[in-house]
């Protein structure tokens, strides 16, 4: 079939330890091959440019019901912010913080990304999630069902029935075509049904007689029992409140003593998502301060953890999370509009618009906390760039986040705009950090690291022969980096070339082809478990508003699947 040769670029591939060597990358039939095996390839001249694998986003909210609520209840997010139809794309693009499915796919592709993990799928609404995945062009998607407040999970873990919980988890992953175990405010979203919350990990969940700590430990055991590609993906309790770093450290300690068991190269047992929102000191908004150092000291010392940033980008955005009580709390802070929903037996969610303003002290401290997490990190293979899109900012700001990380000047430039600069400096360590990350470290944070943590590093995130031919070329010369950090942002916003599955998809920052995208899911085979089958049947009969037969995803909802198989029966 097709052959392609990307010539003379500076290649950064942390999975193979390649640090900017001048190399050729060969592509044949959608896979990466040794350049020598090609007969008559088309060539892309990448001389003077940076070549990386296609980007992998470990945590983003791009499809599903709460994203759609955000689109529906924020028409102003589209007003004057929707570019007219691009001359090269087939579909209209709309919105800023909650872009349409089409804009989502195109913008990720323009940034050189090829794989995006939807970080929270309400199991009951998985058909909707998969319909939107189908409508998101170019990028491959996976979606993680939420387990931390699921009645089945709570019941099994209360009785310490890990094997039954594993059987249920396997059933739900298959029923929803899900990718892994997501936990949002364990127990707290369920407590929200009673108008309550679990503000620390030992706060019992009403009715269920279990604590968030027990839920997280139980799910880690379940995850390692099954040997899933990804680890437990945890959004801690007490998000966004001053002083919550104490709860975060306690949550991190839950992973102590566990080691990963899987065949996918994953080395962590717990992924802590949007850690920025969980690294706060002080006891009020008045003495709010950064505790990123304390949290990162712990993360640096423990190999079985990975984290992502949740970087605040100082934009007007739309917060959305399965952490229902948090969204209510946020609405009473900013008095803007609020949507909230309960998903029967499974989870909840809320949506609130938010403005991260450089004139507000708390926002500028949050900005600093996110960057500190990355800049204090000793292992960038375990620290990933995210904005928790769209919670701390839209994913289209990743290039700006990269510029802040790579350039002290870029950080200084932004800090100059802060109204409470002195107070921000006092409450954080950001002004004392001179570290500037390298292109190799950025490649670790945006492709190799996330791919490894998700357990897909045999396919995504690297440039070794045999892997998917997903290659991003950026107009940046590592031997002659631009002195103006705005140029770095520009280069990462619009890649010079993106090759997806061997097809040239983006050229000079514009989408020129829309190759078939995939849905990635994990199919786990477990031994037959009559108890769990009976429990599921009984629960649906008694409690669910839908029948069991109508609950599981129908095949037509699933689009172009790539199945990762896990077998625990052997």
């Amino acid at each position: 079939m097709s052959e392609l040769l990307i010539k003379n670029g500076f290649v950064f591939d942390p999975l193979q330890g390649i640090k900017g060597d001048r190399m050729d990358i060969g592509v044949k039939d959608g896979k990466i091959v040794e350049p020598g095996t090609l007969s008559s390839p088309k060539t892309i001249d990448a001389a003077g440019m940076t070549v990386m694998a296609g980007g992998v986003d470990v945590h983003s909210h791009v499809v599903g019901p709460k994203v759609n609520v955000g689109r529906l209840f924020r028409p102003e997010d589209k007003l004057f912010k929707s570019p007219h139809k691009s001359p090269t794309c087939s579909r209209m693009e709309m919105g800023f913080s909650v872009p349409s499915t089409f804009k989502t796919g195109y913008d990720y592709a323009r940034m050189g990304y090829v794989f995006v993990n939807e970080a929270a799928m309400p199991p009951l609404h998985s058909p909707h999630v998969h319909e939107e995945i189908r409508d998101t062009p170019i990028i491959d998607n996976a979606a993680m069902p939420v387990f931390g407040n699921n009645w089945f999970t709570l019941e099994y873990l209360k009785n310490n029935e890990i094997e039954n919980n594993a059987a249920y988890t396997a059933w739900l992953l298959r029923a929803t075509r899900g990718f892994g175990i997501k936990v949002v405010n364990p127990g707290g979203s369920e407590a929200w049904g009673w108008g309550l919350n679990c503000v620390n990990i030992h706060d019992p969940v009403p009715y269920f007689d279990i604590t968030p700590a027990e839920i997280v430990k139980g799910l880690i055991e379940t995850n390692e029992y099954l040997g899933l590609p990804h680890s437990v993906h945890l959004h801690c309790n007490n998000l966004g409140n001053p002083g919550n770093y104490v709860d975060t450290l306690e949550s991190l300690k839950l992973a102590e003593g566990y080691t990963p068991k899987n065949e996918f190269g994953r080395e962590q047992v717990l992924h802590l998502t949007h850690l920025q929102f969980h690294s706060y000191g002080g006891d009020s908004w008045g003495n709010f301060e950064s505790r990123a150092k304390d949290v990162m000291d712990y993360v640096n010392a423990h190999d079985n953890l990975t984290i992502d940033m949740g970087q605040v980008t100082l934009d007007e955005t739309t917060t959305m999370t399965a952490d229902g009580p948090f969204e209510h709390h946020l609405c009473s802070l900013n008095h803007l509009k609020w949507a909230n929903t309960d998903v029967e037996l499974e989870t909840a969610a809320g949506v609130v618009p938010y403005i991260y303003s450089p004139n507000v002290k708390v926002c500028t401290i949050q900005w600093a906390v996110g960057l500190e997490l990355a800049l204090f990190s000793k292992d960038l293979m375990r620290t990933f760039i995210t904005t928790d899109h769209p919670n701390a900012g839209p994913f289209t700001r990743y290039p700006r986040v990269i510029a802040w990380l790579m350039s002290r000047a870029a950080r200084d430039e932004t800090m100059k705009t802060f109204k409470w600069l002195e107070r921000t400096i006092d409450a954080t360590s950001i002004d004392g950090i001179d570290r500037e990350l390298t292109l190799y470290e950025i490649a670790q944070m945006t492709r190799a690291g996330p791919a490894k943590a998700l357990g897909v590093s045999n396919t995504y995130g690297g440039l070794a022969p045999g892997m998917d031919a997903d290659i991003a070329v950026y107009a940046l010369n590592p031997e002659d980096m631009p002195s103006n950090p705005a140029e770095i942002e520009k280069a990462f916003s619009r890649c010079a070339w993106l090759v997806k599955d061997g097809i040239v998809t983006v050229q000079d920052g514009e989408v020129i082809a829309e190759p078939a995208k995939r849905t990635v899911w994990v199919d786990v085979k477990v031994p037959e478990n009559a108890q769990v089958q009976r429990d599921i049947y009984e629960h649906f009969l008694r409690h669910y508003s839908v029948k069991l037969d109508n609950y599981s995803l129908f095949e037509e909802h699933l689009h172009n699947p790539r199945v990762i198989e896990v077998d625990t029966t052997e």
Binding site: E76, D77, L79, F80, L336, P353
Partner: protein, 266 residues
């Protein structure tokens, strides 16, 4: 100041989207160039010159440009949208969204305007000699930031939902106003010289409303606290002073809760 005169010689069959008709877009352009600017009729894009004859050149800057529209512009929308300076005179009626998101300059409409005029307005002046329809000086759909500055003056009546989410600026209605004034208001002033129908100031947090006539159905969320003598838009009068909307949240400023004020002439 230079004047560009647009005369509607070939009226559109559908509504015309005239957001390009602003001093900002006309500045620095000759009449022939102005005639090539885009306007949309339904899904069709055409040059302005298809509908209007254009006479006169734009000034060097928006500030030095005046636009005069002649002919029946009842079907021309969005004139002066997002304009920052200069002047527009519409010598008859105009359609919806006139002066929407306006930042500066002045628009004078000698006839009536339709709905959504002056929405999201941040500055400048919009003067309507006739009536205005609904959502005058209101917020765009879904937006919680309504009119933030500037002045809207309507000589005749206004429809419903005037000044939704207003947080700055002034709206003066010479005649009567229909239901819903300053819903969710967080600032700004609305003056109704005639009568108001009802639901005045619902969920208002801050701001002032003056009604010279009567309110047909006042809201129970407002409480009378006294009478005041005040000069309002050049007229002196004695007003009953109400605070509200008591059902809404009330921020505290300098130790005192903030309420919206509603005044009706006694």
């Amino acid at each position: 100041m230079k004047t560009v005169t647009l005369t509607l010689t070939n009226p559109p069959e559908l509504m015309l989207e005239g957001q390009n008709i602003t001093p900002d877009n006309f500045a620095g352009k000759k009449a022939a160039e102005i005639a090539t600017l885009d306007v949309w009729e339904g899904k069709q894009k055409s040059p302005l010159g298809k509908y209007f004859t254009v006479e006169g050149d734009g000034g060097a800057t928006a500030e030095e440009t005046k636009i005069v529209l002649r002919g029946d512009c009842t079907r021309v929308k969005r004139i002066g949208q997002q304009m920052t300076a200069g002047e527009i005179v519409i010598e008859g009626n105009a359609d919806m969204y006139i002066g929407g998101w306006m930042k500066g300059g002045k628009i004078r409409v000698k006839g009536n305007v339709d709905s959504f005029c002056g929405i999201g307005m941040e500055g400048g002046e919009l003067v309507v000699d006739g009536d205005a329809a609904h959502h005058l000086g209101s917020s765009p759909r879904g937006e919680w930031r309504g009119m933030q500055g500037g002045v809207i003056r309507v000589a005749g009546n206004a429809g419903n939902d005037t000044a939704t989410f207003i947080n700055g600026g002034t709206i003066i209605i010479g005649g009567d106003a229909d239901i819903h004034i300053s819903t969710h208001g967080e600032g700004g002033t609305v003056i109704v010289k005639g009568n108001a129908k009802g639901r005045v100031g619902g969920q208002m947090v801050k701001g002032d409303i003056y009604v010279f006539g009567t309110i047909e159905n006042p809201l129970p969320g407002f409480q009378m606290v006294g009478e005041v003598e005040q000069e309002v838009d050049g007229e002196k009068g004695r007003f009953a002073h109400y605070i509200g909307d008591l059902g809404e949240r009330h921020p505290v400023s300098k130790g005192k809760p903030v309420y919206a004020n509603l005044y009706t002439r006694t």
